[in-house]
Symmetry: C2
Subunit: 213 residues, 2 copies
DNA sequence: GTCTATATTGAGATAGAC
DNA sequence: GTCTATCTCAATATAGAC
């Protein structure tokens, strides 16, 4: 155990990255509250002052950790909203990218779930709700556009939005708790297809999708 | 605060019930690990030995607490599986009853979510996964029957199952974290309707459901 | 500076009177 | 069945030797 041994090959900025990775893993597996600074630095192979140099505090490294995926998430929504393609195509893209971002940050997703659904654990407050809501708004926006373009049939946009969210939610939570049974991106596409066959407008069928059943 | 005052009107078996209610609220709001026996008994207006008399331990009251909704959940699945009605009707019933059971035990659902998605918190192990899976199997069973009866169109039953689960999941999680925006039972029915319009078989339409779009 | 031994605390759990 | 008073134990904090 002792001093934990950073090899000479490690580049300079690596300590920072090691600390982030270490904190992510520990927050994910043991929770924010129960993870100690000592554990984080030990696992990263550095000493306490290094953590405080880069991040000021345990809260600091937590906020830094959560910051990145959320920034990525926001830019993802902006991009997808202003893209080419049918409403359906954009919606599928949006769902798949959200899911991809989720996969790229599984550990952080775990931390987020634990704090969102569990007791606060003394972690500094992050407005997860706001991010979740901006995803909802983005999805709903595309759905409403699809309705205007008569690509989708008319229904309560909120209901449609939640049905779409349901497919992504299920895929994500399966990945979190039961990765071996994960449906993956393919699964999301197939679920959305099932849903679209009900959402798709059925009178003047716009593109080329007949009743293929 | 002091002694916490049990009024004379309280009937005999009430201490037990108060303890259960108290533990449910506290486990839900503060988590299993951080909730102390002292807090539980104080809130219930009794003393420690009363808790140990009825439940043997902190783990005991936790298991007792979780036991009831899960027993109810299992009988619910059995009942619904062996009922009258079309596959769609039974599926909707099943979803609505799961959701109702969830609503009746919101606090416990919160505890369950915290432990399922978060760190174990030292709580005794409960195989939530098994219950979740039996729900999945029940839903899938009805779906497959619906396919055999040509009430639903053919598709991967697992995909359909997850799509259905998604609607319930979304409704439940909304209720947990954002009850003011809850979609409620009506929302589940509407989401399922959206989904069915895609799942419903479209060639020899069995019952009386034409393309009403 | 670091390590080990010793307090202190606060948790879960119990004994025995009533 | 419920109380007061107490026990056990583990985690943390601290003191003092090295």
């Amino acid at each position: 155990m002792a001093k934990a041994v950073r090899k000479r090959g490690d580049s300079a900025g690596d300590a920072r990255g090691s600390l982030l990775a270490s904190a992510a893993k520990l927050f994910a597996s043991r929770g924010y509250a129960t993870t100690t600074v000592r554990e984080i630095v030990e696992r990263a192979g550095v000493t306490k002052p290094v953590l405080y140099y880069y991040f000021r505090s345990k809260e600091g490294i937590y906020l830094e950790l959560m910051g990145e995926p959320f920034r990525k998430f926001e830019s993802l929504l902006r991009e997808t909203a202003s893209e080419e393609g049918t409403a359906k195509e954009r919606l599928v893209q949006m769902c798949l990218r959200v899911y991809e971002t989720f996969l790229e940050h599984l550990d952080l997703a775990r931390v987020m779930y634990a704090i969102y659904y569990g007791p606060p654990q003394g972690a500094p407050h992050i407005d997860f709700e706001a991010y979740h809501r901006s995803l909802q708004e983005a999805v709903r926006g595309v759905l409403e556009e699809g309705m205007r373009l008569r690509e989708f049939r008319r229904a309560d946009p909120a209901d449609m939005m939640w049905a779409v969210m349901g497919t992504v939610t299920v895929a994500m939570e399966l990945e979190l708790c039961n990765p071996s049974r994960s449906v993956g991106k393919g699964g999301i596409e197939r679920m959305l297809d099932l849903l679209f066959e009900g959402i798709a407008f059925r009178e003047g069928i716009p593109k080329g999708k007949g009743t293929k059943g």
